[in-house]
Symmetry: C2
C-alpha cells in the first residue's frame, strides 16, 4: 500500500470515527430533537454523492468512509422522520 | 468539466454546507460546551489528513471541501480549548 493510500485510510478512519459516537447515541436514544431535518437531508445527500464520486474515481478511502457514514446517516434520518 | 467532477463538487458543497450552520452558531456564541474536545481533535485531524490526501492525489473536490471545513473546525477547536 502506498503512503498516499495509508493517509487516505487514516483520514477515513478518523472522520468516520468522530461521527460514530454521536450516531450511536442518537440511534440508542432515538432522540433526534437536536438535529435539523433539513441539514440532515443535505448531509446525507452529500455523503451519497461522495460515495458515487468515490466509485467513479475508483478511490477506496472515499468509498469506504462514505459508505459507512451513509449507513448511519440514513438510519438517523429514518428516525428523524419517524419520531419527529 | 466532467460529470464525475461535477458530482464531486456538488458532494463537497453539500457536506460542507451541512457543517457550516453549526460551525457559525458555535463561533458566534462561543458556546462549545456541547462539543467533545476529544472528538473534535479526531475530526480535525481526519479533515487535515483528507486535505493532505486530496493534495497528494490531486483531487480538487476533496481539497476544497476539506480546506474549507478545516478552517472552521480549527476555529471551533481553538474556542473549545480557550473557553472550556
Amino acid at each position: 500500500m502506498t503512503t498516499t493510500s495509508i493517509i487516505g485510510f487514516i483520514a477515513a478512519l478518523l472522520t468516520t470515527a468522530s461521527f460514530l459516537p454521536q450516531a450511536f447515541k442518537t440511534i440508542r436514544s432515538k432522540n433526534t430533537q437536536g438535529l435539523s431535518l433539513f441539514m440532515y437531508v443535505i448531509f446525507s445527500s452529500g455523503v451519497f454523492l461522495w460515495l458515487v464520486y468515490g466509485i467513479r474515481i475508483g478511490d477506496m478511502p472515499v468509498i469506504i468512509a462514505n459508505a459507512v457514514t451513509l449507513v448511519f446517516a440514513l438510519i438517523i434520518l429514518g428516525y428523524k422522520i419517524r419520531y419527529k
